[in-house]
Symmetry: D2
Subunit: 303 residues, 4 copies
């Protein structure tokens, strides 16, 4: 399939949406990004690579980091992980406290903030140097040795992060956090602050296509576990737009408020797309459109 041509065609077709939506502006570091950018990259299990436009520009991956954290957590804990976090779609916005209160502090899934914070706490308990381990893991996944945290972004998210502070305090109240809450929050924000390009993200997510045994920086996952991780992305990866994304795109994926979206076609390819302007649900407008067209043109959704 001529993916390169498809990427170029898609870009032409989604241009009318280039000024739709609004970029995240709750911290200066995200607000000052030039919103008129777009990049896309595909890596196939046969070793091919395609990309278009600003596919090498790094951006804040934000919630996409939750997939990496989940992979590490699954590798460390196995099925026991689901004792501390659920795997059901939430039906409410990603930062809702309501469900958390009703369900006594067990987060619905690893991709709402509460779930990712519980996983960050668990990683801190298990690892001697979680910051370094996380970096090592994503560097090996992405094949980029200089991928790293943006500490300025992390600091400024913490400063404005009252909602996440509310969440972690509520989790702690329910006995769900073992470590110092300030340390956990900062680790969580550092993971979100990682900056990667579409090409780097596509490479990193290629690991979730099961193209080769998953073993990165010592973190191993069986083929079956990878399938299950994809399943969680499918049902929970897009907050209260998970159904919409599954419907339109038909691939497991994950988005971030930095405007990035990654998706995986098991056994075939991974794809990363980026454009800063978001729809009302917090997902990249051009990114959603691009992936919808990709699976329409290629007829390659998983369904």
């Amino acid at each position: 399939m001529d993916y390169q041509k498809i990427l170029e065609d898609i870009y032409q077709e989604i241009l009318p949406f280039a000024d739709k939506g609004a970029q995240a502006d709750y911290i200066p570091a995200l607000a000052k990004v030039n919103p008129d950018q777009f990049g896309i990259a595909i890596k196939t299990t046969f070793g091919e690579a395609y990309s278009y436009m600003q596919a090498q520009t790094r951006f804040s991956i934000q919630s996409i980091s939750k997939v990496f954290a989940l992979a590490m957590a699954l590798s460390l804990e196995g099925e026991d992980l689901w004792k501390i976090v659920g795997k059901e779609p939430s039906g409410t916005a990603f930062n809702s406290l309501i469900q958390l209160e009703v369900e006594k502090g067990k987060p619905r899934n690893p991709f709402i903030n509460a779930g990712a914070i519980v996983i960050a706490d668990m990683l801190m308990s298990r690892l001697e140097d979680p910051d370094a381990e996380f970096l090592k893991f994503i560097r090996e996944l992405s094949g980029s040795e200089d991928v790293g945290y943006n500490l300025e972004v992390a600091e400024s998210e913490r400063e404005k992060g009252y909602l996440n502070a509310a969440i972690i305090n509520l989790l702690k109240h329910h006995g769900r956090i073992q470590n110092d809450i300030e340390n956990v929050l900062m680790f969580y924000f550092r993971m979100c602050s990682v900056e990667m390009s579409c090409e780097e993200l596509a490479q990193a997510f290629l690991a979730f296509t099961n193209y080769r045994p998953f073993d990165f920086a010592g973190y191993r996952l069986s083929s079956s576990k990878i399938k299950r991780l994809n399943a969680v992305m499918q049902t929970c990866g897009f907050y209260d737009e998970a159904g919409e994304f599954t419907y339109l795109v038909g691939l497991p994926g994950k988005s971030g408020v930095g405007g990035g979206i990654v998706a995986v076609h098991p056994a075939h390819y991974s794809v990363a797309v980026w454009s800063p302007r978001l729809n009302s649900k917090g997902n990249s407008v051009m990114g959603m459109k691009a992936l919808e067209l990709l699976t329409t043109y290629t007829q390659e959704s998983i369904f």
Copy 2:
């Protein structure tokens, strides 16, 4: 792949769960079914058929009928359908009124009761003889000319159906029902009362594998629409256990309180399984186990 052998192995392996769970007993017709039954059937896109145990015994398909109704509705309305019903997982139990009230009567998805009732109402508005049309459609899908309603079951569900009556009245209050609510409810219950065997269900759901152009009794769906219908099953087919089913089985599917579960592996096969005892979420215990083992043994989840 030797599916026949796999089915037989699976049966041996799930026997320890044969007495786990409890069959639905809210109406006499369901309560009096012998709970010690199990059947499973597979149909492949290559024309092969496999089955084991009581695969020819008919049972009440209940909510599985919602997939057939959705297929008709999508064929009639196209994407306009999503104006009257959503496609997001609900995050709450299948009969919850809370979400409906908060969201002013637009049901979250076509598989919670509220959504299926709205679709029943729409079919009544569009079709001259909805009862006959529905039968014609499922008879052609399943290749069984004598598949039909169990009017006694339908009547007795209506008699005890206070919760569904609450739901349709709330929908009507929000202006979401066009026809007489009593007629809509009865049509809804008739669709749920249809009795089919695993073999008939597997045949009917083979249509959702895209093995041939979808055109049954005049209801046509493009390959893309079929994919999207599967996507809705994936995220919403199992009420508040949708994440669990996707995680364990990794196929789009739908369950019913009669103990049936159907699932689809796009391009490969359809499978129907049945056993009356249900877990606390209303899904067949042996059915869930059987499908989990099936995709584990065959390595054939969609992820």
Copy 3:
């Protein structure tokens, strides 16, 4: 105290609000009432009577009837009544189904619709001819032999009463209704359809000031029970504006969507006011204002 003068002064002062708000229009019978009306009447425990403007014009008392039904129910059941209905303010709108679902069908208090419906059901179980008994009771309370139901209003409320039908079906689902739901609903709507004037209502509510032993049509309540009934009016009488009414007026009271409001100053007087235009919470705009001024001018709130 010169109540007559006070009533006249109040009227002048609230005239600027005469066109504020909107009358209930969900049924034709309420929509066609001339909204430019106002009446007020006071009866004291010393036997004095004051009134002004259209105090003899009858109007639909609607939810005010719930106080009469509660009085009958308390007389019949005593403290056992609270096994079937609570006495806590609801914190949500009067017709919310959410609380009902969360709390398994036990209504929060006797003044939300669910609570009044449960009481109507109980009266039907206990009384041979509940329609006649209710009339007898309110006729003796009000001293007006021709007070009666407006069956046209009751019918037309039933016709549009989808929300109340949803409520009673949900109650039935939770095993909270003993009688035929259609009969209970019609009895409930008939009670709501009663028409009385301000003077008649003031006379009827004089009984709740404890000015003489409560014994009407055979329904007896101790002085202590009357106090407790007033307590329930105080905390629950105005839906989600109960706090506001207690704050501004400082008397136990009850409102109806017909535009009527009654209030009681224990040991001193009862007051009824009426004007059809309602605020966004469903309470009469001029009525609220008039009562606020009444207790301000007389310095006679209970606090």
Copy 4:
């Protein structure tokens, strides 16, 4: 009326409840209080004083302090206060985050934790030395110059105060907090940590009977404002047991998890009672019983 005799009789009658309930134990300072204590004190507007048992033993007033803070806030802000906090009963437990999230951070009333925290923040913005001002105010109200904070209690509440930290972070997220959240929390906990005896509380709450113009430490409230403050106590003073307390006792009042309850009979008397064991709603078991009997014996509820 022989209040002294009544207090003694009440004590005998409630003795069977002396070991019912459980004292608050979430912080060591509260857990180590001897639970087998009981005190009660009455002050009348005629200058009489009655008390019984440990009426001079000081205890942690906890949420009773919210009434004092509200009085200061009302004096400073007048009716503008209701722009930042509501005055409706909450219908949910005192520390629920659900309502706060749904209502975008405006607390339902001044007596749920969120409301009291918003008022603490406002006092910090308005006063130069809020700690000193609060002490001055309650010392003048109670006539006890040595009433003060228990800083050890305050510290240890802060240490375990994850739920309140969640609340204030959520408030801050919604732009409802002006000052540093750590400072506001500590001020809030200090107010809660105040220790007073029943006699001191009865004296302090005598001010809310309107027995003389309210002017303490420069904080003035009109007679009308005092009535309104009582109204808020009536509808919101007992969390989700406000209806029950109004029903059983019939006086405006406020409870604290230290086991204290105060109530006011406007124009007649104030009463304070204390016993550490709490019911499931967080209100003193013996305290509730004692006040119920008090208004039963004296026939002096406000209704």
